[in-house]
């Protein structure tokens, strides 16, 4: 099956700074893909490239097998809602109708605009002719979303759509997006920190860090500061525990990646050979609605490991938030960034 997106040998720079470097990545068609990662990881850059509003400095993006870029044939199939959406200096109606008008789709314009306005929880009678400056932040975000939904896009890219709005607006945005996905089969790619929502709707997850896409298996990160202890790099915790890792191959690397499959869990401290053994707290439990798997987050100060368990395995461990467990993992990181 042809993937929705395929990225090959992509490098994107802003000036001299490399914002994104992806050797090979495929994103499956249909369903929901979540982009996770800390601020500055490159999520917004990746979304802009996938939305074809920017051209990569190097490399090629393929949409359903076709090489694509800004102003190409396929570029109207994709739309992006940026984190800080911009409303045109016009009325709500004109903002939502803009995309349809430039496509020459002027039939039943008012009806289509009113429909998507009600999808995002805004009463057309009240909002249709309201000017751009008379909207609150949450209302502006919802109008911006409506202006994308009215296009019935094949691919909808959302950059932190609920980050700067209140709970009510966030809920309405989520409902409208879910409706578009189920009604039109729109492929959704979304960058968000809303874990609960991601676990509810995401079919797959991509982790980004320092401009690199990591496999979900490698999503356990250990940030510095590091001190040198003999032939190891050491991270000390306030409770006296120490974590040792073999140094990275390059000096500009300082984030260690630990593969989930290399982590072992114990209820009590147990002697281990040539491994790290540290006590963590269970801090978060999340159910992945679609797969039924349970995500358990273990935290030790600023280090968090998230591991996935089947219901049976989860029950056998008896994890509850606040439970102390012991995690063992090798002194050689799976990778460094």
């Amino acid at each position: 099956m042809i993937p929705l997106y395929e990225i090959k040998n992509l490098i994107h720079k802003y000036g001299e700074k490399v914002a994104l470097k992806i050797d090979n990545l495929t994103i499956s068609d249909r369903g929901v893909t979540a982009l996770l990662g800390p601020n500055g990881a490159g999520k917004s850059t990746l979304l802009r490239l996938l939305a074809l509003v920017e051209k990569p400095t190097q490399g090629q993006i393929y949409l359903r097998g076709e090489p694509v870029g800004p102003f190409c044939k396929a570029f109207r199939k994709v739309t992006l809602l940026p984190q800080q959406p911009y409303l045109l200096k016009r009325s709500v109606f004109e903002n939502i109708a803009y995309g349809l008008k430039i496509r020459g789709k002027k039939k039943n314009l008012r009806q289509k605009v009113c429909e998507v306005l009600s999808w995002v929880g805004l009463d057309p009678d009240q909002f249709l002719h309201r000017p751009w400056y008379a909207l609150s932040g949450g209302e502006a975000q919802r109008v911006a979303l409506a202006s994308r939904l009215v296009l019935q896009p094949e691919v909808l890219l959302l950059d932190e759509p609920t980050a700067s709005v209140d709970a009510k607006s966030a809920q309405l945005i989520k409902e409208a997006v879910t409706k578009a996905v189920s009604l039109w089969g729109t492929s959704l790619i979304i960058a968000t920190h809303d874990w609960a929502w991601i676990n509810e709707i995401a079919d797959r997850t991509l982790y980004l860090i320092k401009g690199h896409v990591l496999p979900s298996e490698m999503s356990n990160l250990i940030f510095g500061p590091w001190t040198v202890n003999g032939r190891f790099w050491e991270k000390r915790f306030r409770d006296g525990q120490r974590l040792l890792l073999e140094p990275p191959p390059s000096k500009d690397m300082d984030i260690a990646l630990i593969s989930s499959s290399s982590v072992e869990i114990f209820g009590n401290p147990k002697p281990v050979h040539d491994q790290n053994l540290l006590s963590f707290w269970v801090t978060r439990l999340n159910l992945k609605t679609k797969s039924g798997q349970i995500l358990v987050t273990f935290s030790l100060e600023d280090v968090s490991f998230t591991l996935e368990f089947s219901k049976e395995k989860f029950s056998s461990y008896g994890f509850v938030p606040g439970k102390k467990v012991w995690l063992s993992f090798p002194k050689k990181a799976s990778a460094w960034l």
């Binding site: 802009r48 939305a51 074809l52 509003v53 800004p70 102003f71 570029f75 109207r76 739309t79 992006l80 809602l81 940026p82 800080q84 959406p85 911009y86 045109l88 200096k89 803009y98 995309g99 430039i102 496509r103 911006a144 202006s147 994308r148 296009l151």
Partner: protein, 229 residues
């Protein structure tokens, strides 16, 4: 003081009685400034847009040159255009000296840097998200250009109004290139200069009042547009 009061009273008489010479100067001013503004907007808006929108080598230098031209003295423009249009000049064959199109060329040179610089500033001050939004909504290159100009419309109108104010009130170009010919190239400002030198204050004051009225309308529009933007 008596002659000033007398001049003001006579000025109103001239305006109310629709004095032909006074109205000829007003009409000539409106005509020549319209030519100049049409040309400067047609050239200046696209140039200003590209100067503000695009990034290219030498942009800063070009911007500095345009900003320097904002202070171009009208007598110097008058001198240059006179030299170009005179019989000995490269454009002498077209017989534009002491004609309204000749004055309009000079006034276009005066207005053009204002339109370019203020349009570029208006476009530069557009939110970076606008471009991303328009592309995300599927705008092609032409639609992108038109919508960006429309979004910067208040700034561009401010540029036009500012340039119009400058063109309307200049005297150096009209005097040198137009020659202040009665019924032909005499504008409000050149008429005021001439009448004052003759000691005829009434027509000078009458024309001054009209100029003030036009300047008020122009500035009121500017204030309104600034508030809107």
């Amino acid at each position: 003081m008596g002659y000033i009061t007398e001049g003001i009273i006579k000025a109103f008489e001239l305006l109310i009685s629709r004095d032909a010479e006074t109205y000829s100067a007003i009409l000539t001013t409106l005509k020549v400034s319209t030519y100049a503004m049409t040309a400067s907007l047609a050239l200046g808006i696209p140039l200003g847009f590209f100067l503000g929108f695009l990034d290219f080598r030498g942009k800063k230098l070009l911007r500095t040159i345009v900003n320097t031209l904002l202070a171009f003295p009208t007598v110097l423009i008058g001198l240059l255009v006179y030299a170009l249009l005179s019989q000995r000049g490269p454009l002498g064959q077209y017989g534009l000296l002491f004609t309204l199109p000749g004055v309009a060329i000079g006034q276009t040179i005066l207005a053009l840097p204002i339109v370019i610089a203020l349009t570029a500033t208006a476009v530069e001050s557009l939110d970076r998200q606008l471009r991303i939004t328009l592309l995300a909504l599927g705008a092609n290159r032409y639609q992108l250009l038109c919508t960006c100009i429309w979004e910067a419309r208040y700034g561009i109108l401010t540029a036009a109004v500012t340039a119009y104010g400058r063109v309307l009130t200049e005297v150096g170009i009209s005097l040198m290139v137009g020659g202040n010919i009665k019924w032909h190239t005499r504008t409000i400002t050149t008429a005021i200069a001439l009448e004052t030198s003759k000691g005829e204050f009434a027509m000078g004051i009458a024309l001054g009042l009209v100029l003030l009225l036009i300047a008020f309308v122009v500035n009121f529009s500017l204030m309104y547009l600034r508030q809107r933007s």
